[in-house]
């Protein structure tokens, strides 16, 4: 009889431990799901862990200069998204790439394009040019890396092909990328398209 009581007592002990362990596991599941629970009779502290998210989005993902031609009296035309058209018949364009950091972490941004001036615009290689210019919308939105300046036009696809443009792009902030094209009078004709890519990761 005494041995049976000891057996039941031991079984109850193990069962209680398993229940305690189950409660611990339940708490782990709740924390993993980023849910918040708390109970206090007087005062207490709720610790909340917000998962890190890195997300960059093009608010405006299209720059379309429309149709135009180089003035017959000129050897090249220059157009950009600052609204400037020189020696060409394109309508002034001010819609530029607008990029926002939707995440909650600083991000590092790299810029690259699918084509360079020769493959995109064609014509006289010493004249054709395809450039981009990164600017902050809010002060301090993008902290540029060493050797790269905001507000300056750079030729695309020069070395390195994918260039770091922001060492730290702050959450909730915006940057713009202007595009500038120099089009020789013997350039490619028709509708020309290129895709620019921003690669990003948490900085």
């Amino acid at each position: 009889m005494g041995r049976d009581n000891y057996l039941v007592f031991t079984a109850l002990l193990v069962f209680s431990f398993s229940l305690f362990n189950l409660a611990s596991t339940y708490n782990l599941i709740i924390n993993f799901g980023s849910a918040v629970t708390g109970f206090a009779t007087d005062s207490g502290v709720v610790n909340l862990t917000v998962g890190s998210v890195v997300s960059i989005n093009f608010t405006n993902a299209s720059v379309n200069f429309g149709s135009g031609e180089v003035n017959s009296s000129a050897t090249f035309a220059t157009i950009n998204t600052l609204g400037s058209v020189v020696n060409g018949t394109w309508a002034p364009e001010t819609l530029k790439f607008l990029i926002i950091n939707l995440g909650n972490e600083n991000a590092t941004l790299n810029f690259s394009s699918g084509k360079n001036a020769s493959t995109f615009i064609g014509g006289n290689v010493s004249i054709a040019s395809y450039q981009y210019n990164v600017s902050n919308v809010e002060t301090g939105a993008c902290v540029p890396p060493a050797g790269f300046s905001l507000g300056t036009f750079y030729e695309v696809n020069t070395t390195p092909v994918s260039r770091e443009i922001c060492a730290d792009f702050l959450p909730g902030k915006n940057i713009t990328i202007d595009i500038k094209l120099v089009i020789p009078d013997n350039s490619n004709l028709g509708i020309l398209t290129d895709t620019v890519t921003i690669t990003y990761e948490a900085s």
Binding site: D4, N5, L7, V8, A11, L12, V14, F15, F17, S18, N21, L22, S24, T25, L28, F32, G51, V54, S55, F58, N60, A61, S62, V63, N64, F65, G66, S67, G68, E69, N71, S72, I79, T89, F97, I99, S113, F120, I121, I177, I179, L181, I183, D185, S187, N188, L189, G190, I191, L192, T193, D194, T195, V196, T197, I198, T199, Y200, E201, A202
Partner: protein
């Protein structure tokens, strides 16, 4: 097997099932947390935009390049 022994066996079986389940869940969660952390740190993503224009011939309508 008397009543107390049966009760002890049932409790032990339930306890073992609960313990094994807890251990499996905790191991799974630990693995998922590690994967989540590595994913958010090392992941490189991308976003794309398009540049487009149409270039018309300025020499159109002429012969030998005459406008």
């Amino acid at each position: 097997m008397n009543e107390k022994q049966r009760l002890a066996v049932i409790l032990l079986v339930i306890a073992i099932i609960l313990l094994v389940t807890s251990v499996v869940i905790e191991i799974s969660i630990a693995g998922a947390q590690k994967a989540r952390e590595e994913d958010s740190k090392g992941r490189v993503s991308e976003a794309t935009g398009v540049v487009q224009l149409e270039i018309l011939s300025s020499k159109e309508g002429g012969v030998n390049g005459e406008g």
